[in-house]
Amino acid sequence: MSTVRVGLDQHVARHDPTHTGRGLHSRAVLTLLLLGAFVWSLLSVDWSVPLFHPGGGAAILEMAKSLVRPELSADILSLALTSSWRTLCYAVAGISLALFIAFPLGVLASGVLARTAPGRVAATVTFRGLLGFLRAIHELVWAWLFVAAIGLSPFAAILALALPYGGILGRIFAEMLVDVPAAPLKALRASGASELKVLFYGRLPLVWAHMLSYSMYRFECAIRSATIMSFVGLGGLGYQIQLSLQDLRYSEAWTFTLVLIGIVAAVDAWSAALRKRLVV
């Protein structure tokens, strides 16, 4: 697989040996299991309540109509620009803080520094557990908790982004550090290097490109998350989208949404170009 693909999904999927010869049988069972779960979830829906709002059709039409004529007045455009900048700031500050959290925790959670086997187990269990806790809670839930704790401050948004992203990045960093080829490390150890030196001169040079590439992908995600962040009142693009929708001003909402799509697409293209060159 030559191209570096998006996300945790691929990072792990790449390591999945696809053809282990267990055959189609267990897959068929799994497919049936998943289908059954889906049907069950359909059955658990309360179908007696009406599915659509009475005015739903009209609302769709109205929304679709305003897509072709988004609001392009100078006021709205400058508002869109300032709120995009705010969203971008939160995303960049959040991801940079997340990297600060992820790197040390990731190194500790990989257990590569431990000299003895029990020490390694203790380190992996503790720090993987910590990382798992950080990423188990969605960033918006973190945001809401931080807003309740420290009020509507930009730091609530930044911390709420940095904690779960630190958890995700840390876990991936840990896996990458463990998964390096053993031969160069053995050579280093044979020449008397300590585990710390092996980390800096053996492991990191082998994986830093992958680490950067994955962080770049996470930066893309952080922009989307930063947009959502504003739904708890933290300002930015998402907040404007929400306000416009509440006032039923669809054409304004579309302007902000299109700006969001534009930013995400731009960062997407940049990070794709970067990742293609990073991991050859």
């Binding site: 191209t3 693909r5 998006v6 999904d9 792990v12 999927a13 999945d16 696809t18 282990t20 267990s26 897959r27 799994l30 497919t31 299991l33 998943l34 779960a37 889906f38 069950w40 979830s41 658990s44 829906v45 599915l51 659509f52 709002h53 739903g56 609302a59 769709i60 929304m63 900048w85 971008l88 700031c89 960049v92 500050a93 940079s96 798992g132 188990a136 809670i137 969605h138 918006l140 839930v141 908790l145 309740a148 704790a149 420290i150 009020g151 401050s153 930009p154 730091f155 989307r224 998350s225 947009t227 739904f231 998402g238 989208i241 929708l245 949404t257 969001l260 799509i261 970067l274 990073l278």
Partner: protein
């Protein structure tokens, strides 16, 4: 790699790195200097007092009967947890079916005919339209989809599931299409040589090859979706999310603790199930 390519690659990397560093500096400058009040406020004695009070409330200090010690409240919360789980499965199912129906025409090797052996303007049109739909669908966050959907659907499991599914449709479609593009063509050629039709090739060569990775990606997305279901519940639906929002609005912080415990348990449960099922998928 020829030297000039290497140089342009390094230049691009260098410029990107400088640009990103600049962006980091500017952002922190904006947050620390432009909004310096925020920093001062963060470290003021009042906000420390405020944060501590919030933590005390979360832990139920001074409450006669915190919600997380109330059996009745646990029962209600577990019911909501079940509802949230069902909503996530619904979302995965809808997104999965949608992506499954569109993924073959959205793969480049189907559009240029290496997979299906015939091509034309229609297959390229389908490719471009579907890839565009994937991009649009995943560019809009779940929460924005949810805000749009509640205009049309009554809030509930279907609305929440659809909002989640609409965002994940684009992600899953893109991931699956790349799996189809990376497919080993030899079994397909062998079947073709033996006289199999398009449907037969799809069913006997393409599907068995891509199924393990399709299922793996589906289960990974489920892990992500379960974390997001609570967020979509804030606006579009029942489940833990709506209750979380209501408890926040009414300052019932011990309820928040209870809901967070259920949420964490659900996330770890799904991670565990998904890891087990993924082993089955290989």
């Amino acid at each position: 790699m020829i030297p000039s390519q290497r140089m342009s690659r390094n230049l691009f990397l260098k410029v990107s790195l400088i640009f990103f560093a600049l962006l980091v500096c500017l952002s922190w400058y904006f947050i620390l200097i432009e909004q310096e009040g925020a920093l001062r406020q963060l470290f003021s004695p009042e906000s420390k007092e405020y944060a501590l009070a919030f933590l005390r409330d979360l832990m139920g200090v001074g409450y006669p009967k915190p919600a997380f010690l109330d059996l009745q409240r646990w029962k209600e919360a577990l019911g909501l947890t079940y509802e949230t789980l069902m909503m996530s499965i619904l979302a995965v199912g809808i997104a999965g079916f949608g992506a499954l129906l569109t993924v073959i025409p959205a793969a480049r090797n189907a559009a240029d005919g290496t997979l299906t052996l015939h091509t034309g303007w229609w297959s390229w049109t389908a490719y471009v339209v579907l890839r565009g739909a994937y991009i649009l669908s995943r560019a809009i966050p779940e929460l924005v989809w949810a805000l749009l959907i509640v205009f049309i659907f009554t809030p509930g499991m279907i609305a929440g599931g659809l909002a989640l599914a609409l965002h994940n449709y684009g992600i899953l479609g893109k991931l699956w299409a790349e799996v189809v593009e990376d497919i080993d063509l030899r079994p397909i050629r062998a079947l073709r040589a033996a006289g199999a039709g398009t449907g037969q090739t799809l069913f006997y060569a393409v599907l068995p090859t891509v199924l393990p990775q399709f299922l793996t990606f589906l289960l990974y997305r489920w892990e992500v979706i379960i974390r997001t279901t609570i967020v979509v519940g804030f606006v579009a639906a029942g489940g833990l999310g709506r209750e979380f929002r209501l408890s926040m609005a009414w300052f019932q912080y011990t309820d928040i603790t209870l809901l967070l415990l259920c949420y964490l348990a659900l996330v770890f449960l799904v991670d565990f199930i998904s890891a087990g099922l993924r082993r089955l998928a290989r």
